[in-house]
Amino acid sequence: MRSRTGVPADTVWQQLSEQAAALKHIHLAQMFANQPDRFSELSRRAGPLLLDLSKQRLDAHTLKLLASLADARDLRGWINRLFAGEPINHTEQRAAMHWALRVPVQQPSPVQQQVQEQLDRMTRLVERIHARQWRGVTGEVITDVVNIGVGGSDLGPMMVCRALDDAVDEQAVRTHFVSSMDGSQVSGLLHQLRPHSTLFVISSKSFTTIDTLYNAGTARAWLQRALGNDSAVIGCHFIGVSSSTEKMDQWGIPRANQLLLWDWVGGRFSLWSAIGLPIALRIGMQGFRDLLAGAHQMDEHFGTAPWVDNVPVLMALTGVWNTNILGIHAHAVLPYDGRLKHLPAFLSQLEMESNGKSVTRDGEPVPTGTCPVLWGEVGPNAQHAFYQLLHQGTEPVTCDFIAPARRYHELRHDAAAAELIGQHQLALANCFAQSRLLAFGEAALPPDERLPMHMRYHGNQPSTTLLLDQLDPFSLGALLAAYEHKVFAQAVIWQINPFDQWGVEMGKRIATETLSLLRGAGQAGAMDASTQGLIGQVISKLQPR
């Protein structure tokens, strides 16, 4: 296939392989020794975000080749199609316009009116709840809000709420999250809360997600046991967020309590929509708008910056280089800030559900590898867990180190600030030390220090460091949008559709069949021996002895 700029992709892949062969025997420590200005050459800034690629096993020439790969795959054209609202999610015939959710009110967008309308509705709900004027059915003030959702309707809002703990609005109510279908979270939570003062947000784009509807059913029964069967119980204690007005109507949620999103927002890209209601309840509408503004700034950057200065594109191309050229198939996300506790889980959904694909847009098997296995943990804690494998294992892993430069300067920390700032410095020191040790290995140690084999560090493990000025709504918005666009740019290189998720559909369907067997209906004969055996075990345990 020939690209618009002339250099065929196959040729670029070939050039990249040759470049890898040329760099193969140069240890990262050597690269730094050869090039004293490596940091300034290989780091970039976009708004509140600094991207340091200098500990990646590449050089400026590699970046140029990767940029021509982006051209060969027509990344520019695809970005234009994304921002034009074309139905680039072709298997579902939908656009992917999560970016339109963050276009500021004074700038036109194809869906501006509906987006602003929902933001206004959200503002009214948030203001009423914050003013302590949202009433339960007995007239009590709502003090606790429980978000019931799963996947994109859970991970995003939960991750952001936790991340922005220091930006909490002084009028904020307590927010809780319930997702797991087995009921373990909801049962624990309902023991702590009072029905009279609890409001549930049922968050499901389709409003058919079985996990969510079961949890919502449990919540409804809990409320009705305490407060009676009156339909006003649902009217006072439930808000629905979905793209289906009809389904919310059927469930009994009054129109005034419905917030809408649309087909053109993917679940894992939806925290910017009304799905983000719990975020707004925590940090206020102004905080929520700052989050959107940070993401919008990154949208503009992504849409306009040349490839070699484009932070999301560079994140994408570095990943492609590591996965497809260097053959590294594992990627760890390591925030050095406990507030970003849920970021690894959020990013593993964002990246793996988007790019865990093996068929191209043309319906052919992909010729290259796609998304690596991605996982992670708060860095300092992971140091006591899986870092052993990073430093001395046989499986190479690339890492994203993420940290804020400044922390604990907010007013609420005044009393303990000195000690806490000390702790933050300690975390930063560990962050920088770990990426240094991974890159340099023993070269990071004093010369003359000869170590026995089992204590050695081979180094040469590539990592990226993302340094935020500070963790606030604006910078978090920018960081998350950068990852979203990284995912999109990689999908373009890999020629796949990042916006569908057919791989998660079939399992839901056959679970329905299995459920009826577990409940003693249907013929087990249709199942494989393993499933039959397992079902048999469960049923035998249910029988009274």
Partner: protein
């Protein structure tokens, strides 16, 4: 004696009136602000029975003068009273420093302000700094125990007088000044200054706790279909408990009462101890202020939009025009948030209410209680003004759109109200 009183609180005015009425030569020095403006314009900033008349009388008799708070007492003055607002602590300190600088003058300072526990001792330290040897100086504390609505009475016929004092010289003088109010039997109790300050806070904490407890009981009574009034009288008959402060109601307000309880909560919190009980008491009280709203909300099955509700009584208690922390404020805001138009009557507090909220479409202030009830879907009795104890039920019934009566003070007879054709809700009784 020549006495100077600094302050713009109700205590300042009451002390000035009471002490001048017994023959002292008093100068009242009110710091610049709303209260001073009111007095200049011959408006009474505090509505208290008998207070205005007594102040006028003493001024006419020449025993009560007013002066600037920026000026120092003249040399004849033997005692200085500080009845300042809690925010005026820096003013008190600078005043004390200026008194202290007159090295040969003997000073007795009586602190009646609600400052944090320990303030009186530190003021005394300042006052004694630099005094000539042999010059008597003391700062003592006499916590104000005024019952708002009966303020003058409670100063002049006190059931007890708390004085925090650690100087014999000061004791002789304070006894002399208060002698006319302490005749029947000696009700003056002397403590260390910080003990007196703390006692004042603890008394208010206890009273608030009793009310909080009764309101909690009233909620239970509601749920169990028990009449809390019967329970209250049964409890009050037990001498270990007594009858005072057992009335359940729709929450207590008042500048001093609420502020004192909160000040105790703060005192404990900043000392690292923290009072979970008092926090709960305040929380229950805030919740209680909305109890009538909750009953109305349930009565109309969570839909109040477009309704009209009448509130009788906006002052935080009868006899005063003040609305500080009054339950009516929380009710107004809750009702407005649901799109309700509120018509309010109060014998004294309407001007304050208007100043507080300004003009709004959904607030109608009525000089006549029956006019306020016109077209209403509910009538909430919030402050137990005497005017409301015996309403003209047939007239109300004719005026109101729905005969619904919510009695926030349990002053009406549920049976009689119902027999007059109304639906009745009380606090802990139906």
């Amino acid at each position: 004696m020549h006495l100077d009183i600094y302050g713009d609180t109700l205590t300042a005015l009451v002390t000035a009136a009471a002490l001048s009425s017994t023959g002292h030569q008093v100068t009242l020095r009110v710091p610049a602000g709303q209260v001073a403006d009111d007095l200049d314009a011959h408006r009474m900033p505090y509505q208290e029975p008998g207070l205005e008349a007594m102040l006028d009388e003493q001024q006419r008799a020449g025993r009560l003068l007013t002066g600037s708070a920026e000026q120092m007492p003249d040399d004849r003055v033997e005692a200085v009273f500080l009845a300042l607002s809690p925010a005026a602590q820096p003013f008190a300190e600078s005043l004390i420093d200026q008194l202290a600088a007159r090295r040969e003058h003997s000073w007795l300072v009586v602190n009646q302000s609600n400052f944090p526990v320990g303030t009186t001792e530190s003021l005394q330290q300042r006052l004694r700094d630099g005094a000539e040897p042999g010059v008597d100086r003391a700062v003592i504390v006499m916590p104000e125990m005024l019952q708002e609505g009966a303020a003058l009475q409670s100063f002049m016929r006190p059931s007890s007088i708390l004085v925090g004092c650690d100087s014999d010289w000061a004791e002789i003088h304070i006894r002399e000044m208060l002698r006319p109010f302490n005749r029947l039997r000696d009700v003056m109790r002397l403590l260390r200054p910080r003990e007196a300050e703390f006692t004042k806070l603890a008394i208010n904490g206890m009273l608030a706790t009793r009310l909080g407890f009764m309101n909690d009981m009233a909620s239970l009574a509601d749920a169990l279909h028990v009449d809390i009034e019967q329970v209250r009288m049964g409890m009050g008959a037990d001498p270990r408990i007594g009858e005072a402060y057992l009335y359940p109601g729709c929450g207590f307000g008042g500048l001093n009462f609420s502020r004192n309880v909160m000040s105790l909560a703060n005192t404990l919190e900043s000392s690292g101890v923290g009072s979970e009980l008092l926090e709960q008491v305040l929380l229950i009280n805030e919740r209680q202020k909305e109890v009538l709203f909750r009953k109305l909300w349930q009565h109309y099955r969570t839909d109040l939009h477009g309704k009209t509700v009448t509130i009788w009584g906006a002052a935080f208690k009868p006899g005063t025009g003040r609305i500080d922390n009054a339950p009516a404020l929380k009710l107004l805001e809750a009702l407005w948030a649901q799109g309700v138009i509120v018509r309010v009557h109060d014998p004294k507090a309407l001007p304050t209410l208007r100043a507080h909220y300004g003009e709004r479409m959904d607030l109608v202030l009525c000089d006549d209680p029956y006019e306020a009830a016109r077209g209403a879907d509910a009538l909430m009795l919030v402050t137990e003004w005497k005017d409301y104890w015996s309403p003209d039920y047939p007239r109300l019934h004719n005026l109101m759109a729905e005969p619904l009566l919510l009695d926030g003070r349990n002053i009406l007879d549920p049976e009689f109200v119902r027999s007059s054709g109304f639906i009745y809700y009380g606090i802990g009784r139906q």
